[in-house]
C-alpha cells in the first residue's frame, strides 16, 4: 500500500498524512477537505471526523512554504513605551487587519544591530511585509532595508535617493510652529529640550529650533538648549540641568515624554505652568491630554503616517513592481493649557506654586 511516510512524526503531532490514513483517503483529498475546497459528502465526513479524533492542526510554516505568504506583517519601532508609537501602531493595525493579516510589533530598544538583525531574520519570509521607523539610519541599515526580500515601508526621514516607500513629516517645520506660537504669545527666553543629536529626529528638531529663533531675530543661547534622550526620566533630568543655569519663560520639548518630564521638573522647582513657563510638547499623544495642565503639543500626524504607511505596504505586497513612493504628512500645532497666553504677572519670589489658572479644556485649539 502507498504508506510511504511516517504518519506520526517524532513529536507525536498529527499531520495531514495521519488524518488521511485514518480517514482512508489520500493526502490530497484530506488537504482539500481541510481547506474546504471540494470533496464528496462522504469524504468530507470521514476527513473531518479523523481530523477531530487526532486533534489535527495544520502546520502554518509548511503552508507558508508552499503558499509563499504568512498573513503576518511586522512593525519595528524604537520604544514601545512611547505613546506615539502606540498611536501609530493602532492605525496600522486597523489597516492591516482589514486585509485579513495580523500585525506583530517588535521593539528594537534603539540598538541598531538589533534592528538590522530583526530585518535580516523576520524579513526573510517570516512576514509578508514590514513597517520600520528607525531613528538612527546607518549605511548598513539602509542596505538591509533595500535588500529586504520582503516589502518594507519606512516611517520617518530617509536619504532622498533611497528607493524605499517612505512616509515622513516635517518635524523641522513642527518645531517652527511651536516657536512661532510662543513668540506670538510674548515669550522670548525660549528653551529647548531635545533628544540625541545623532538621531534623525533629534537633528531635524535642533535644526528647526535654531532656524526658527533666528527667523524671529532672537539670539541663540546655548544655555537654553539641553539634550537628553527621548524618554521621560531624561527629559526631567535635562530640564533640571537647564533650570539650574538659565531662566526660560518657555520650553519646547522634542516629544511628549520629554515634555512631561519637563513639566514635572518645572512644577517641582516651583515654576507655574503656563504663567511662569509655557511648555509645548511634540507628537500630540494621549499623554499630552492626560497631564494637568494639559500640554500643548505639535502633532506630527502619527496615526495618519501609520495609516498611510500601512496602505503603501499593502499596495506593495500586492504589486512589487510599483515605483518607490514618498508621502508627507504636515505637522500642526494643538494649543492647550500649558502654553495658554497669560498676562505677564510678576512671579512671587518664593513659596509653593500657585494653582493653575486655566482649567483643562476638553480639546485644544489647532493653530
Amino acid at each position: 500500500m502507498g504508506r510511504k511516510r511516517l504518519q506520526e512524526p517524532a513529536d507525536g503531532r498529527p499531520t495531514v498524512h495521519t488524518v488521511a490514513a485514518r480517514a482512508g483517503v489520500s493526502i490530497a483529498s484530506a488537504s482539500r477537505v481541510l481547506n474546504g475546497v471540494g470533496g464528496s459528502p462522504e469524504t468530507i465526513r470521514k476527513v473531518r471526523e479523523a481530523a477531530a479524533e487526532v486533534g489535527y492542526v495544520p502546520n502554518a510554516i509548511a503552508r507558508s512554504l508552499q503558499s509563499q505568504r504568512t498573513g503576518l506583517v511586522a512593525l519595528a519601532v524604537e520604544d514601545i513605551g512611547n505613546p506615539v508609537y502606540v498611536e501609530m501602531m493602532r492605525a496600522i493595525e486597523a489597516v492591516v487587519a482589514s486585509s485579513g493579516r495580523q500585525l506583530l510589533v517588535h521593539a528594537t530598544g534603539g540598538r541598531i544591530d538589533n534592528e538590522t538583525a530583526l530585518l535580516r531574520r523576520l524579513a526573510n519570509r517570516y512576514v509578508d511585509g514590514m513597517i520600520v521607523s528607525p531613528i538612527r539610519v546607518t549605511d548598513d541599515h539602509l542596505t538591509a532595508l533595500v535588500d529586504s526580500p520582503v516589502p518594507v515601508v519606512v516611517v520617518g526621514q530617509l536619504g532622498a535617493d533611497a528607493p524605499i516607500d517612505n512616509v515622513r513629516t516635517d518635524s523641522r517645520h513642527g518645531v517652527a510652529l511651536a516657536v512661532d506660537h510662543l513668540v506670538a504669545t510674548g515669550r522670548r527666553r525660549i528653551g529647548f529640550v531635545n533628544g540625541p543629536l545623532d538621531t534623525v529626529p533629534g537633528a531635524a528638531r535642533d535644526d528647526g529650533f535654531r532656524a526658527a529663533l533666528t527667523r524671529h531675530g532672537i539670539p541663540l543661547d546655548d544655555e537654553l538648549i539641553e539634550v537628553g534622550d527621548f524618554q521621560y526620566a531624561a527629559g526631567r533630568a535635562a530640564t533640571e540641568r537647564l533650570l539650574a543655569r538659565a531662566d526660560p519663560d518657555a520650553l519646547v520639548c522634542a516629544n511628549d515624554l520629554i515634555a512631561v518630564g519637563a513639566l514635572h521638573a518645572l512644577l517641582a522647582a516651583g515654576r507655574r505652568v503656563p504663567q511662569d513657563v509655557a511648555v509645548v510638547g511634540m507628537d500630540d499623544t494621549e499623554l499630552a491630554r492626560m497631564m494637568f495642565p494639559q500640554l500643548s503639543s505639535v502633532s506630527l500626524g502619527s496615526a495618519e503616517r501609520g495609516r498611510r504607511a500601512a496602505e503603501l505596504l499593502l499596495q506593495r505586497i500586492a504589486d512589487a513592481t510599483l515605483p518607490p513612493r514618498r508621502e508627507q504628512v504636515p505637522p500642526s500645532l494643538v494649543v492647550r493649557a500649558s502654553s495658554a497666553a497669560t498676562l505677564p504677572a510678576p512671579r512671587p519670589a518664593t513659596g509653593p506654586a500657585g494653582p493653575p489658572t486655566t482649567h483643562p479644556s476638553s480639546e485644544g485649539v489647532t493653530a
Copy 2:
C-alpha cells in the same frame, strides 16, 4: 547534468540551487558552506562568491520547516497602550533575547475572537512559544490554550485546574493593601473606580474591595463604586459620574490609567489631591511617577511576572514534558504624594484648587 529544478523561481529570488549551480557544486555543499560547516577552501570560496553575486538570502520559512523552530516568541496582550504591559514586555524581552530569540508583540484589543485567532494562527508553528495575558477567559479560549501546538504560558488568573503554566498575582489582596492604607490614614468615604466586571481582574478587584471594606467595618455604599473600562478616558468619565453623586475622601482605582483619569477629573472639579481626596492606583507603572502629584499605586509585580513567565516558557520549550507549573508574585503598595496622610483640614467651600502641599519625592515608600 543534474539540473533537475528550476534555478530561478518565479519571483526571481535566488535559492540555494541558484547558488550551487553558479558555483558548480551540489546544493548540499552549498548549504554546508553557507552554514559554515565543512567544505574545502576552494568550495568555500566558490560558494561564497556565487552567493554574494546573486545576493542570496536564505528563506527562513524553509529552514524552519526543516529545523522545527523559528527563533521567535510571541507576547499577546490586551492593550499595548497600557504601560503595565510595556513593563512586562521589557522584562520578557530581556529573558527571551538572552536565549537568542526575538520577541514579537500582538495587541488583541480586547476582541476575544482576535486573541483566539491569533493563537490558532501564530501558535501553529510560526513561533516557538507564546506568552498570553488574557483579561477575559472563555471555554473556547481555554481549549485553544490547552490545544496549542506550541508551548504557552499565561500571565494572569486561570481556572485552578487548567494544565497550563501560569504566573499570577493576587490583585484581590492588592486592593486590600490600598484600602488598609487609606483607612489607616483616616479615610472613610472610600470610592472605587473599577474596570469591567466581566473581566478576570475586574471581578477580582471588585471582590477584594468589598471584602476589605467589610473587614474594616465600613458599610458598602454602591454610590461610591463606579465602573468603566481600563483606560484613561473611561477612568476620567467614571470618576466624573461618581463625583456627581457622591463625595469620597479617597479613590481606589483598578489600574494606573484609571487613576490618572480620576486625578484629572478630581483636579478639574476643584478637589485637592491628596488633601481632599486621596488617590491610589494599581500596577505601579511609570505613569504613576509621571503625574503631579505622583500617584500611590499597588505594584502587582508586572516586570517580575513577565520575567518569570518568560523563564517558564523557555524551560518548557526546552522540555515539553515538564508538569504544568504555577507561580505567584505578591502585590505591594507604594505610597507617594497622592495619598499622603494630611491633617484633616476643612476644605474651602468654593474657589480654585489650592497648591499641592507635598512635593514629589523621588521614590515612594513601600508598605
